[in-house]
């Protein structure tokens, strides 16, 4: 008999007041017993609606059926047969908009905690040897640009098919946004490093400090006997609002603020990368990156942290759990509010942010009601730091240096339904194609591209 409790088995978490001041992981994860109990809530539906919500096609009911019997290694194998980064996905996927949104149990009560179970299976297998065999080499070479979620997924899938894969990473560490963007308290870096080790065991080679477009061009890669190239170069340059005061000392892009903290560990005094320890912070934007920035600022010791977002709570694009956690940790949401300028003192340091109230008007092209300024409603908030988390525009380096690689008017790479770019043998996916999106969508694209690269190379023989 399935467990008919309408609610998810609660998951242990650090107390809000404690965790708001440390960088340790917020959610502690299920115990073995809790995982079995939650897995037993799955009805194992025949038509598997949950799977239709998964961009990488994890065979969800199958792995949960194994977990319900305590066979976590088996469950893990089922997950990893289609997902190279389960410990990551279990933690950062917006499950409420994907698999769990389709779960039948969600109609009357809460859906099965699919993300929590995926995470448990992956964590359970940490440090344990799995018996998966190293694939037999097929003699073909593929280059991957960018060791983020898209590139790593493509690399993993291709390696499993026997390809000789080299990933070229611009930074000193592989992982992309999983390392520089998503904070330790949401995704411990040791876990990311371990998942990457797993890929290396499959034979994937990773070369760091390689900025493709500068040190080697895409055409030069083809000259090095790579038969196909996958571009997963990520989101690119941060956007600013183009309002007065954005060049003051104390104005960060979210990318910079988070990279200092996550990749460079600026919060730890033993590391040499500096960061401003802010007292009063305004974070502009409503996505996951904004939540991560706000919660990181709190952990650096801030007294007040505001999220400034121009629409209302209903439109907030961040993952539900992050918004909930941020609220618990004392982040204040200034909704229907938009900055008009940033104020500074005579030394050029931030002293405040001037905002205007907004109201929701007609729906725009995205279907969301577009915010309109309320005239004369300007007000000022005292802050010493402003973090702009309003998205990114693609890095032009690869399109500039690769003849035949075309981009859209937004600067993103143009691909067809198989993630194939306008240049033969070059495939792309993730934020470089979609603009800022999620880890799992990038992984889905990497997966699709790997399959397309496989058929492309086979078709040439």
């Amino acid at each position: 008999m399935p467990n008919m409790d309408p609610c998810k088995t609660p998951i242990p978490e650090q107390e809000p007041a404690v965790r708001a001041r440390n960088f340790d992981e917020v959610t502690l994860g299920y115990t073995r017993e809790q995982a079995v109990q939650e897995a037993q809530r799955c009805l194992n539906c025949k038509n598997r609606p949950c799977m239709t919500g998964c961009p990488v096609g994890v065979r969800i009911p199958e792995f949960i059926a194994q977990a319900a019997q305590g066979n976590f290694e088996e469950a893990y194998k089922i997950i990893t047969s289609t997902n190279s980064l389960p410990a990551v996905c279990g933690r950062v996927c917006p499950q409420e908009r994907q698999c769990e949104s389709k779960c039948v149990r969600g109609i009357k009560g809460e859906p099965v905690g699919i993300g929590r179970l995926e995470r448990f299976c992956a964590d359970y297998m940490r440090g344990k040897q799995t018996t998966s065999a190293v694939p037999k080499p097929n003699g073909h070479k593929v280059a991957v640009i960018g060791a983020g979620p898209a590139g790593l997924t493509a690399a993993g899938d291709l390696a499993k098919l026997g390809y000789d894969v080299t990933v070229y990473e611009a930074f000193h560490t592989a992982g992309g946004v999983l390392m520089y963007g998503i904070p330790e308290f949401r995704l411990p870096k040791a876990i990311v490093a371990e998942e990457i080790e797993g890929l290396k065991k499959l034979g994937v080679k990773i070369m760091t400090n390689m900025v493709i477009g500068r040190v080697l061009s895409v055409d030069e890669l083809f000259g090095m006997d790579y038969e196909a190239v996958f571009i997963g170069s990520g989101a690119g340059l941060p956007r600013f609002m183009n309002i007065d005061g954005e060049d003051l000392v104390g104005v960060y892009s979210a990318n910079e603020f988070l990279t200092r903290i996550n990749l460079m560990k600026a919060y730890d005094d033993d590391h040499y990368t500096p960061i401003i320890r802010p007292k009063r912070v305004a974070v502009v934007g409503g996505g996951n990156v904004a939540m991560d920035s706000a919660r990181s600022a709190m952990r650096l010791g801030a007294e007040k942290v505001y999220i400034i977002y121009r629409r209302s709570m209903d439109e907030l694009p961040a993952r539900k759990e992050e918004v909930h956690h941020a609220g618990e940790e004392g982040i204040e949401f200034m909704l229907l509010t938009n900055p008009t300028r940033i104020l500074g003192d005579d030394k050029g340091r931030v002293t405040g942010i001037e905002c205007v109230k907004m109201e929701l008007g007609e729906p725009d092209a995205s279907g969301r009601r577009s915010p309109v300024e309320v005239e004369g409603s300007e007000f000022t908030v005292d802050v010493d730091t402003v973090i702009m988390a309003i998205g990114t525009s693609p890095n032009p380096l690869l399109t500039m240096t690769t003849p035949g690689l075309e981009k859209s008017s937004r600067g993103t790479l143009i691909v067809d339904e198989n993630e194939c770019t306008t240049k033969e043998g070059v495939f792309a996916g993730g934020d470089a194609v979609t603009g800022s999106a999620t880890v799992i969508l990038a992984m889905g694209a990497g997966k699709k591209a790997a399959a397309a690269i496989d058929s492309y190379i086979k078709s040439k023989q």
């Binding site: 611009a170 930074f171 000193h172 520089y180 760091t208 400090n209 390689m210 900025v211 500068r214 040190v215 080697l216 990520g234 989101a235 690119g236 340059l237 941060p238 600013f240 183009n242 954005e246 060049d247 000392v249 960060y252 892009s253 990318n255 910079e256 990279t259 200092r260 460079m264 033993d270 590391h271 040499y272 990368t273 500096p274 401003i276 030394k347 050029g348 890095n395 032009p396 380096l397």
Partner: protein, 277 residues
């Protein structure tokens, strides 16, 4: 890991290192830089590529021991390896077409970066006047190298202990007023020096290129911390620069932003040296 093939102390504070980096050496051009992280705890610090040897597969970086990260880098000796070197980054310098005569102005350790510019132009057949400024005679670096890479070398010292007594701007003005017809001036050095060189050349309408040194983090076009205002527009020095038209650069803003971490940097140096500098 990137091995240090050669290390030379150019003066009390300036160090030259030749690094084994074949991929970078193959592509490097004047104006480009590398990001160096000397060890696990280190920052990512940008250094302009001062020279390269494509055959040998090495690059040369000259740095001044000025803060915590360069102190730690200076601890690495010949034969030791640097943890991370990424590059070549930034856009290569684009020179004025068909230039006949160019003044290359370097200030202090900036001469190490101005030197490859002079060398490249000189090898292209351009008449190069190199103006190299130092505080005093004892900290002059690369004198022979610079002399071999230009038509005429003008050394300036603040105290007159060598060559012309005065600032590089005084020398430059003297040359221009003496009738030198420059198609371009390239100025590389401390921000105030670049600012004042631009002030000298502006009335004469001489195109002036500067190589900016804003704070950087990733250096690959991801974080936006190297943003500078050029002609009223925000530019990212790591991908669109580091060279810009000096007459368009907002130098005061650059100086302000470069002071962001002054206090923290001083604190780190204190911890490394026990308060002694």
């Amino acid at each position: 890991m990137y091995k240090i093939l050669r290390k030379e102390k150019l003066n009390e504070q300036c160090v030259l290192i030749e690094i084994d980096a074949p991929y970078i050496a193959r592509k490097a051009e004047p104006g480009q830089f590398v990001i160096i992280r000397s060890d696990e705890l280190g920052e990512r610090v940008p250094f302009t590529i001062s020279d390269y040897d494509r055959e040998k597969g090495s690059i040369v970086v000259i740095y001044q021991i000025i803060g915590a990260s360069t102190m730690r880098l200076a601890e690495l000796e010949e034969g030791d390896s640097i943890l991370d070197v990424a590059g070549p980054l930034g856009a290569a310098t684009e020179y004025v077409e068909n230039a006949k005569r160019v003044a290359v102005v370097g200030g202090g350790v900036g001469c190490a970066i101005a030197y490859p510019q002079a060398k490249k132009l000189f090898n292209m057949g351009v008449q190069v006047d190199m103006i190299a400024g130092f505080r005093s005679k004892d900290i002059i670096i690369l004198e022979n190298e610079m002399r071999a890479a230009c038509t005429e070398l003008h050394i300036c010292t603040d105290d007159g202990s060598c060559g012309f007594k005065g600032f590089v701007t005084d020398k430059l003005r003297e040359l221009i007023e003496g009738g030198a017809q420059y198609d371009e001036v390239i100025a590389i050095g401390p921000v105030p020096m670049m600012k004042f060189v631009c002030a000298v050349t502006k009335p004469y309408g001489i195109k002036t290129l500067v190589s900016l040194n804003p704070i950087m983090l990733d250096g690959t076009g991801m974080c936006g911390c190297c943003r500078v205002k050029v002609g009223g527009k925000t530019k990212y020095a790591c991908v669109e620069g580091p060279d810009f038209d000096g007459h368009e650069v907002d130098f005061d803003e650059l100086m302000r932003r470069n002071s962001t971490y002054k206090e923290q940097e001083a604190d780190h140096v204190c911890r490394l040296t026990g308060g002694v500098r």
